[in-house]
């Protein structure tokens, strides 16, 4: 049996701590390595903040639902929302090379998510909303697949 944990809260800034607590506790409970835990926490923070600040910016905030699933030594994290569709894979690449004084301050969050996750998939439909799935492989040491 594969352990699955879920959490759902309104997509507002005051609920960000609840989302972060959820991923911290889920990683700890599943024995996820330090590096992978950091990557998954960062993914939850960046994706949720993006939904809170942009996805739900022009409407009354809808829900954000997280699902944490252990698959052998990997973690599959699913994020569901009801914001206007936005595929994080389509976010523009940030400027990583310009001089410090001219380098823009933003645009790094989803870039980091893309770098730190091994697989990203996204689908959207009007009935079920949006679903972002993130896979982190080799997240649990000593667990054979």
């Amino acid at each position: 049996m594969r352990p699955v944990q879920t959490a759902e809260h309104p997509g507002t800034a005051e609920h960000l701590p609840a989302f972060l607590d959820f991923i911290d506790n889920a990683c700890r409970g599943a024995g996820v390595d330090e590096d992978a835990s950091m990557a998954l926490r960062l993914a939850v923070e960046e994706v949720c903040l993006n939904l809170i600040r942009y996805g739900y910016a022009d409407a009354s905030p809808g829900p954000i639902a997280l699902e944490f699933r252990v698959e052998d030594d990997a973690i599959r994290l699913t994020v569901r929302d009801r914001a206007p569709p936005f595929d994080p894979r389509d976010a523009p690449a940030p400027d990583l090379t310009s001089d410090v004084l001219t380098r823009p301050l933003g645009g790094l969050g989803l870039h980091l998510v893309r770098c730190l996750m091994d697989e990203i998939s996204y689908c959207s439909d009007t009935e079920r909303g949006n679903r972002l799935t993130l896979l982190k492989r080799s997240a649990i040491s000593g667990k054979d697949d």
Binding site: E34, D35, M38, E45, V100, L105, L108, G109, H111, L112
Partner: protein
């Protein structure tokens, strides 16, 4: 997150412990902004106790190094641990922020 500051000669060492994220980055920015406003622009961020940073923390570091350099100073990093270093590398920050093994080396770099 906990932040404390210690003046070592003309260099201000800001020790950051815990997580810098969307919940705490504004607090860290306030610390750095106050130092720069007070003319303390030779800054070292002691990252020995820094467990985690998201893009919110990176924005704080970038905003601070911009402000410090515009006033003739700098923000330099010390004792960055591997998980945080990875985020800095992926974000292209290791090419714009000088990083040292420990606080004494980062402080001494201002005398060079």
């Amino acid at each position: 997150m906990e932040v404390s500051a210690n003046d070592m000669g003309e260099v201000t060492v800001v020790a950051i412990r815990g997580n810098v994220d969307g919940l705490t980055a504004d607090q860290l920015m306030e610390h750095f902004t106050a130092h720069v406003a007070a003319g303390k622009v030779r800054l070292v961020a002691d990252c020995a106790g820094l467990d985690y940073t998201s893009s919110a923390g990176l924005r704080t570091l970038l905003g601070t190094v911009k402000a410090a350099r515009q006033k003739g100073g700098d923000l330099r990093l010390a004792a960055v641990r591997p998980p945080v270093l990875k985020v800095l590398q992926l974000s292209g920050f290791t090419s714009i922020l000088k990083s040292y093994d420990d606080v004494p080396a980062a402080v001494a770099s201002y005398a060079a």
